[in-house]
Structures are given as structure tokens and as C-alpha cells.
Amino acid sequence: MKYLLVLAAGVLFGVTLFVAAMIYNPFMAERRLSPISVTDAEVMSLTYMNVPSESIIFTNDGESRQQPHPAKVLQLWEAPIRLTSMMTSVMRDARGRTAGIGVKFSSRSERTRLLNGEALVDSTWYIHLPGRGSLFIEQSENYWPFFREVAFPAWRSSANSWKGTWLGDMSAGPGALGTARVTGGSGTLRGLDTHGVESLSARAYSADKGLVAAEGRLLIELPSIVADDTSQ
């Protein structure tokens, strides 16, 4: 009996050691330099508020940390869409002016491999920019660095919250350099086939309510022809 108790304590300690090693391993899912930030091409920047209460609408299964907004929005409770969220937001340009409107669909990805430091979300953006056209952006996002550096410290803190400055690229594919695939659908953006990167800038997080103060940013590389058209 004594040996069994010691063995159980050892197993428990081993599991704890493993989890701690995953969370504190500096070589796991390190934040990389965005390939878009070193490109010579012209880049389109779009920002949006990444907090449900500051979006136009945000909905999910209604049981997740992030609460739907507004409160009476239809919730995604059916089994095939239970792990999905939907957000509509005003998109702003680099100067903070209204540039268009976007909707983001996000679903937890079955390709998630926590052992490799990959907590993946498959997301799709549809953005309409009046006077320019529309964009379709598909990407996988890796939330592991965010979980490790923001959500876990918030959960561990006695106040159940985190405050600070965290900036990270969320895009993790399907592009070879971890970029999102961007396709133009209409207007001057029609026929566009390029890539982009989505980043998240978080300032406050609550373990109970999720993101409290955060901004998202999409950087989209523009080929010269499109860049000339959109600058007119």
C-alpha cells in the first residue's frame, strides 16, 4: 500500500513536471519575426477591436469565456458549430479612419498538437472595403504563445487577470512562412492573390471573461499593380 501511494505521488509529480516543462519551455512555439514586416512591397494595414463588447457582434456557443455581444444574439450551440465563433467589426486603416467592415469566422482546429506547442484555430476573414473591393483571408492561428504568456499568468494570478503589453503574430499558415492566404474578390482587389499576417496586441486579460483590452491588426502585402490602384 505504501509503495502504491509513493508511486501515485510520483505519477502526479511527473505529470506536473511535464505540464510545467511544456509551459516554460522557451524553445516551444517561440514568437517569430513576421515575414511581412521585412518585405519591400507595399503593405495594407487594417486594425480592429478584438474585444467582444467593442465589436458590432460577437457570438459563440454561449458557454465559453468570451461572452456573446449583444446579449440577445443567436448563439452557435448546434454540435457542428459549437467550437466556432463569429465576429463582425469595423476595420480601420493605419490612420485610424474607417476603411471597411469585416467578419471573422474562427473554429478550433483538429490539427492542434499541444505536444508541439500548437493550439490552432482555423479562421477565415471576409472584409469589404468600400471603393476598393472585398478580400477573403484564410489562415491557421496559433494561440499557444498567447496562452503561455497571457492566459496562463492570468489564471495563476490571485486577481485572475493579466495586465501588460503583449504583441504577437497569430498567423501560422497555410503559407510556408506562416502567412495567411489572401484572395481579392471584387473591385480593384479582384484577382489579388497574396499573403498577410494577423497580429494581436493585448493589454488586459481576465481569466473569467477573456480579452478585456486588445486590438487586432492585419497586414496584407500588395503587389505593385494593386497598390497603385488602391492609392488613387
Binding site: 509513493v6 511535464f18 449583444p70 440577445k72 448546434e78 458549430i81 474607417t98 471576409y126 472585398s134 484564410e138
Partner: protein, 192 residues
């Protein structure tokens, strides 16, 4: 001490094994209902029951917002945009995904994005003018994951409900996606 160390090793191995063997995410899948088109390609039909599947109607100047309490932006730049969000059902009337429908006066198009969590997303751009019979048709512009290699077209049609049943929807938006895959010639070296 030896038992404790064996326990630690067992614990590490069990945690690593569990993370490796059990999927962290398991999306619920409904079987796809796809039929073969007579002139090539595959057809998959979806529909949206109105008003029960409507998640959002965003347009300037609406007296009643859907959902209640939503504040649609009043920016002049967005005055020509109408965006709707829906739940999408398959032909068995089971919700399989979500979708957005956007019409914009400046581009004179109607854009649909269908997001089916277990499969991927589909983006189609349609002309805003409907043909006779109220049908709109447009090309599949892009797709992700399962839909990435597919081209083809999508049609949209409004069908009013005439059943008169209590609690029946006022109608439905029928979407028909016609997929045409990319032809990949067989590798001659691989043939024996």
C-alpha cells in the same frame, strides 16, 4: 525513492502519451450530401431558414436591429453595405455551418462566405442582378482546406414558404454549390 522516480517517469510518459494519442479538438461532422452533376462536377445544396437562422442583419437606417441591441456603425463610408450572418443547414435541415452574405452598392456584387468548421470555407462572388426566376449565380473565388482546390460556381435563390404551417419559416435562401475539381494528370512514372 526508486518507486517515486519510477512514478515520475510513468507520469511524464502518460502525459506525453495522452497528448499524443487523444485529439485536443474533435469537430462534430455531418456526412456531406453531394450529388454528381450531369455535365461534370459535384453539387452540394445548403439552405438558410428565415428568420430563425438569421444571426445578424447589418444595414444603415434599420428601425429594428437584428440581433436586438446591436449598434450598426453610422460611418458614411459604410452606408452602401448590407451584411447578414446566418446559420447554414444541409439538405437534411441540420445546421452544418455559418455564413455571411454581403451586398455593396459600390461594387455591385453579392459576396457569400460559407464556413463549415469541420471542412473549411468557401467564398463566392455573385452579380447583384438576379436572373429570371430570382436566381443569382456567381463564381467560387476561393476556398480553404477541403475547398481550396475546388473551382465552380454557386447559385442563390429565395423560396417563400407556402405551407401555412404554424411556426414555419417565412421562406428560405437556397444555395447550390457546384464544385469542379482541378484535373491532375496521372504521373506516368508511377504507372506500371
Amino acid at each position: 525513492m526508486k518507486t517515486f522516480i519510477i512514478g515520475i517517469l510513468l507520469g511524464i510518459a502518460a502525459a506525453a502519451g495522452a497528448l499524443y494519442a487523444y485529439p485536443a479538438v474533435d469537430q462534430h461532422r455531418e456526412a456531406s450530401i453531394v450529388s454528381v452533376a450531369p455535365n461534370g462536377g459535384n453539387i452540394e445544396s445548403f439552405h438558410v431558414n428565415i428568420p430563425m437562422d438569421r444571426v445578424m442583419v447589418g444595414a444603415p437606417g434599420r428601425k429594428q436591429s437584428v440581433p436586438p441591441g446591436m449598434q450598426w456603425p453610422t460611418d458614411e463610408e459604410l452606408s452602401g453595405i448590407r451584411m447578414e450572418l446566418f446559420k447554414v443547414r444541409n439538405t437534411r435541415d441540420i445546421v452544418v455551418g455559418v455564413a455571411s452574405r454581403t451586398s455593396a452598392s459600390d461594387a455591385d456584387v453579392i459576396d457569400w462566405v460559407l464556413h463549415l468548421p469541420a471542412r473549411g470555407s468557401l467564398y463566392a462572388t455573385m452579380q447583384s442582378q438576379a436572373s429570371e426566376g430570382g436566381m443569382r449565380r456567381g463564381g467560387i473565388t476561393a476556398g480553404s482546406r477541403e475547398f481550396a482546390p475546388l473551382k465552380g460556381f454557386m447559385t442563390e435563390r429565395w423560396v417563400a414558404d407556402t405551407s401555412g404551417e404554424e411556426g414555419a419559416p417565412s421562406g428560405r435562401i437556397e444555395l447550390s454549390a457546384n464544385y469542379i475539381g482541378e484535373y491532375i494528370p496521372e504521373d506516368e512514372d508511377g504507372l506500371e
